[in-house]
Amino acid sequence: MTGRLLRLHLRARGASAFVAGASAIALLAWAGGTWLAAQPHLGGPAARLPVVVLAPLLAAVLLGPTLAGADEELERGTPLRWPAWRVGHVLLAVLAVATALALTGLRAPETFGAQALARNTLGWIGLVAGATALLGARLAWLPAFGYGCVVYLAAPRDAGVFVALWAWPVQPATAAASWLAAGGVLALGLAGYAYRGSAVGHRLPSRPVTI
């Protein structure tokens, strides 16, 4: 029964579109990363930084719409153990995306490769999950998008624990604090999303909420 429920749940949340999108992103990340790493004048594998920041971010943005059903309140009115389902949903996505993206960065995995891709997947998905709890699935992409856009250019040239904490997406995988930050964001986002689900904004009377 749970198997059928799981299938229906994934269908209701548009999982197939997400899988297609995430696969496309993984392919692009592989192509982009390989190209950048092969440019000696850019510094080799270290030049993959934009891919490492943006590929997991794109995947997390695509995950956003799957974090809420067509009618959140209707779903909440059912006796299903939603917190467990929500945690499972997000963790499954983290596992799938992190694995797929890490496979694209196996060449020199320690310099802006597989490890950093996995770390950023944790962080970005955590941020999207947390934003879903606060803003609703419709706008869940907003904080991650805004932060992702700015952090790349605004990251200071010097390094330090504090910088590694707030600029975790652009840190080398060896910076332990960046893993701490990304893991912390995932834990917080996951907890918020598990507890609250997708935020329900102003319900527009007389018609379903359009997304």
Binding site: L36, L54, L57, L58, P65, F145, C149, L153, T210
Partner: protein, 423 residues
């Protein structure tokens, strides 16, 4: 149109776009004030560098605004009205663009106030460069409007934004001629003049691109064709013309401004706002070197060093690298970096040239002593190394340093070892 524009400015995506652009602008400006502090051209260039962030935000805002009809399921109502579709679309685009540009202008305007307080060079083509940046923002929001209108995807706005980001990032990396079509550039061209034809063609290219994107969004194919033709016509000379990366220097910008008293310290007019603070660091060091044979007698802005500049390379001069040396308020960011320039003069080159067996730790010791003496006992990494030397009479100290310079110049290892053990 004014009525619709006003409503969109207040109730559409516009206010959020303004806020986002302001926030991003302030953040980016605050992150690297050394790139723009005290320099108009630096600020204009920094706007162009920041387009890497600002354009994706504009694309996202435009797409979100234009996707509203679909999100709110209002297409049916609008389809029954007589007004041509492009009116409301242009109103929506204009609202987002004006708001976004206003947000950016407030952030960069704040920085401009700081620059205006101290800037010593207001010439050059800085405002033309900034204007091209503004046109790029308008083109970005037009691209967003096109995506929002045509792509029925719930996450079309962020995906379009991130794709723009990735596209611009790749263009800045891509070392090929077509990459010059990107309005966001990587490098700083603070001391040169971008050729006028480049700025004119870039402006034409961006305006034509904006019209093209909007025309495709409202399916005005004839207008799109025309704008596309103009865009291609402008793109060809930009991407096939001679590279302007090595544009000729702006003679007024690199004109030297020198101290009127004490040992000579000269900075280019662009960096002249730092002259007071730089002189405060450099003059005491130059004063210590005064009269020592073979020692530099003046410090000059590194910018004029390349070929074709007014000052020839000579051993009399210490070159000061000032590109990242300004704070937001126009002060000197890091005096230690300047002192490093003098440390170079103390001949570290010799220690580097020696390999393996020839190398003697005492050479480092001599270098450290020289550096510390030169910097009056505050040598970076070598603090206190010259304590013994500085106990000698001043004339003996100077003689030691003259011997040291002589030995380093010839890379005379026994002489350096002797000097290290001497005092």
């Amino acid at each position: 149109m004014r009525r619709a524009l006003w409503v969109e400015l207040r109730r559409g995506t516009a206010p959020y776009a303004a806020l986002a652009m302001f926030g991003a602008g302030v953040w980016v400006l605050a992150a690297h004030p050394d790139d723009w502090g005290g320099r108009w051209v630096g600020l204009a260039d920094y706007l162009r560098v920041s387009l890497l962030v600002l354009c994706p935000l504009m694309v996202c805002a435009g797409a979100w605004q234009a996707g509203r009809e679909r999100r709110r399921d209002i297409g049916e109502l609008i389809a029954a009205t007589p007004r041509p579709g492009w009116h409301s679309l242009v109103a929506a685009w204009l609202a987002v663009t004006l708001a976004g540009v206003a947000g950016t202008a407030v952030a960069f305007g704040g920085a401009a106030v700081l620059v205006a307080r101290v800037a010593t060079y207001a010439g050059g083509d800085w405002w033309q460069r900034a204007a091209v940046g503004v046109l790029a923002l308008a083109a970005a929001s037009a691209g967003g409007v096109l995506v929002g209108r045509r792509v029925p995807l719930r996450v079309a706005a962020p995906i379009a934004g991130l794709a723009t980001y990735l596209g611009l990032a790749i263009l800045t990396y891509w070392n090929a001629a077509p990459a010059r079509l990107s309005p966001a550039y990587d490098g700083r061209r603070m001391y040169s003049l971008v050729p006028e034809w480049v700025i004119e063609w870039q402006a034409t290219w961006l305006v034509a691109l904006t019209v093209l994107l909007l025309a495709v969004a409202v399916r005005r194919w004839r207008v799109a064709l025309l704008a596309g033709g103009v865009a291609v016509a402008a793109a060809v000379p930009i991407s096939t013309g001679p590279s302007w990366n090595r544009a000729p220097a702006d003679p007024a910008a690199v004109e030297l401004v020198c101290t009127s008293s004490g040992p000579e310290v000269c900075l280019t007019r662009v960096n002249a706002f730092l002259l007071g603070e730089v002189a405060a660091v450099a003059q005491p060091i130059l004063a210590r070197l005064d009269g020592i044979p073979g020692a530099p007698r003046r410090a000059v802005d590194h910018t004029v060093r390349p070929a074709g500049a007014s000052v020839a390379e000579d051993a009399d001069t210490v070159w000061l690298y000032l590109d990242f040396q300004a704070t937001a308020l126009g002060g000197l960011a890091n005096a230690e970096d300047l002192r490093t320039a003098f440390r170079q003069e103390t001949g570290w080159g010799c220690a580097y040239r020696l390999q393996g067996d020839e190398f003697d730790q005492r050479i480092h010791q001599a270098d450290n002593m020289a550096t510390d003496w030169l910097l009056d006992g505050s040598g970076f990494w070598a603090e206190g190394a010259s304590a013994g030397l500085r106990e000698l009479p001043p004339s003996a100290q100077r003689a030691w340093f003259a011997d040291y310079l002589d030995a380093v110049g010839r890379c005379d290892v026994p002489a350096l070892v002797r000097l290290a053990e001497q005092p």
